[in-house]
Symmetry: C2
Subunit: 482 residues, 2 copies
Amino acid sequence: MMPRKKLLTLESMNQSVRGVVVPILGSLSVRAVEIQREIEEGIHKPFGKITACHLGDNQSMGQRPVTFLRQVAVLCTYPDLLDSPHFPEDAKRRARALMKELDGGSVGSYNLFMYIGKTLPHKIANFIKRRDGGVPCDPRNIIVSSGASQAIVSVLSLVVNNEEALKTGIMVSVPHYTVYVDAIALCEAVKVQYKLEEENGWSVNVTNIRTSLHEARKHCHPKVLCVINPGNPTGHVLSREIMEEVIHLASEENLLLFADEVYQENVFGPGAAFHSFKKVLFEMGPRYSERVQLVSFNSISKGISAECGLRSAYIEFVNIDPSVFEILHSLKSFNEPPVLGALMMDVMLDPPQPGDQSYETYIAEKRDLLNNLAEKAHLTEEILNSAPGFRCNPIHGALYAFPSIQIPETAVRLAQDRGLEPDVFFCHLLLEDTGILLSAGSSFGQVETYHFRLSLLPPIEELKCILEKITEFHGRFMAEYS
Amino acid sequence: MMPRKKLLTLESMNQSVRGVVVPILGSLSVRAVEIQREIEEGIHKPFGKITACHLGDNQSMGQRPVTFLRQVAVLCTYPDLLDSPHFPEDAKRRARALMKELDGGSVGSYNLFMYIGKTLPHKIANFIKRRDGGVPCDPRNIIVSSGASQAIVSVLSLVVNNEEALKTGIMVSVPHYTVYVDAIALCEAVKVQYKLEEENGWSVNVTNIRTSLHEARKHCHPKVLCVINPGNPTGHVLSREIMEEVIHLASEENLLLFADEVYQENVFGPGAAFHSFKKVLFEMGPRYSERVQLVSFNSISKGISAECGLRSAYIEFVNIDPSVFEILHSLKSFNEPPVLGALMMDVMLDPPQPGDQSYETYIAEKRDLLNNLAEKAHLTEEILNSAPGFRCNPIHGALYAFPSIQIPETAVRLAQDRGLEPDVFFCHLLLEDTGILLSAGSSFGQVETYHFRLSLLPPIEELKCILEKITEFHGRFMAEYS
């Protein structure tokens, strides 16, 4: 036999897939895993364990799941428990009702039709209508997805058309949630960035969008404007006025508006309120509501449920011909959502109501979660803004602080010599010294000034300690490199 | 405002995505959903309900889940139950051990690292090693995926390189599991078909592969040879000799061997035994085992667990540089497997052992499942082969019968006039008359002769009744169109 070239190698493989880099396995995370292994192997470190604050992963940081949700989950998974006195009657009622909709009554069936013609899209539509003060919602415009990241890549893969003369442009904010850029790379689209206004609490500025758009039109066909509200990584909650400006711009410039609203329940800033783009669009009248193409989505990985492991989200399409997005059902043959995740989305969109046995517990859990986030946001702003070299905008929503940090010129040059972004360099030093794992601002596309994203999810005492370690370390870092 | 073209329409959207058609929403399934709705609306039909026999969806057809698996699942989901006397100690022990590996001890965390460096790939590798009689398995070569369909599209998306002069060819059998063809379309590869030998129980014939291969090389670069064993839709279990021939051919012709082994536990034919391609490859010696690139996969949607709703599978890569398939971790940022699914894979690969409290129950469940399938396979062969106009090969594995059916010329022409494949035409008439939903053979690429795929999953009495209705209907069909 002749020696032959192997078929699947880095050189021969799909080069567009090869180009996709994932943030969760960035150099910081990889090093954190190594350090944790070193600790377990007995290698001495100045800290006892890795403190991961880089993700919005609530339950990994000790947040307890919503009791009612988990009760319904286990009753559906193991129906023998329907006879157990351990569970409240309303959870049993809900489980029985859900199981009636399952093929063979089982969460172990594919239940493909649950996502299509049957009850789940109707229930999601009812939730949206209630949320939006009665604005109509057609269940036929709802698609269930296995998580928000999947929703992003699915929708973009519908829009990006590489058969056209100009490549499709996708507009994303800077800073942005990293998955957008990965999805754009995967779809072979052109990333068109617009800057958020750090000096204005990270709000959207439509003038910035327009400038980027006109520049981009010289070399691509921008089709989609992505807006994340509440903001990730920024924690900003958009005002209604700005949302109207965004919709007006989308209409005027003929952009499909892609609204990432997964943090819609995580709003806790004084005076901040979440408005959905769908609601604002419809309240602006038919001139907008009948023309602007809007795709918005929501997930049970965030909000009150915070069930990241269940993998469930939904997408609503407005002013888009169903024959377009129904193709997502086809793509879903590669990626059916887990049944339990879909059921739990149903539960979270229609939680216990006043008078229900589980209502008091549910409301207390929800209130504690939001109060807790508000308290931690306030604490974070206070500690960071009173330390030299940090500036933290008010955090009104989502799960993160995204402060700017001062990095002295010597450190910037040193980082560049090592081929690192300066904020990545800082985060690496912090990780080695304290075990604290942050996400560097540059991984969210923020490169002209230096930032990190810190999750607000650790328990408050731990968060305080983390913040103090970060500011203390930064002081030493400044002293060393100034 | 000027009227503008909408951005996302059938005409402007991604045309390669638009081309993907999904079998589960084929015309037969769509019509079945309509009929069910009509029945619910009170419209009279000659039957009371749709009898869906087109899918390998065990629990939708009344199969009970594996008790131990579900016990561990609910203990992990709702740890308060660890105090309940309802659950056996070994299930509790297993749940505690699994929870220790979860971030924050919760199935609600992302648990991203569970899939990468940590224990799950090690446990899968141990299972493979045990299964293959000690052939080594490196956990670094294992990737966890959210289902086998996802595995298929992920791996093909790694291989297909559209930057090369010749398009990438993917070889699939006829008949084949439909998802392959969808995945090939999605990846914009070239489908290269090779015929299975119906006259030889649907076995693989390497001469057929070679003929197709040489023909295909005139217009594309065939890189991957997909083999499904046990066969879907055929129910054939490959002999060791044929597997050696396939491996020899893959080596000689430089093809990456892609072995779909999701039905590896569903083997029940007299004398039939499952051998993994990995094992056979290694037993053929280093001349093969060090050279042939092999990708194989397995899923908990099939086998003894049959948990289609949990969405969990794994892929093993042999002779492939990890830097290639580690990119799947990146793609996974769009598609993390559900945590509970991954945990349950762990449980199924390492079920209760002799001496464990749950062993007897588990073994009885497993035995019943396989005996039941064997009995139903035998019954199906008997009924179909004694009816005129049917021929059914022996069914030794998987979950289906794939008999040939006679369709008279008049019916063939009538079908063609309506733009339907003749077997789709037959299945439509059967559906309208009896409510029985089958998959037409042509949806598996089998077009020169006429077939259908029937699931063996209905309870035996119901299956008998279904088979009698099919043969009785076919008699009337022949009378009408001959």
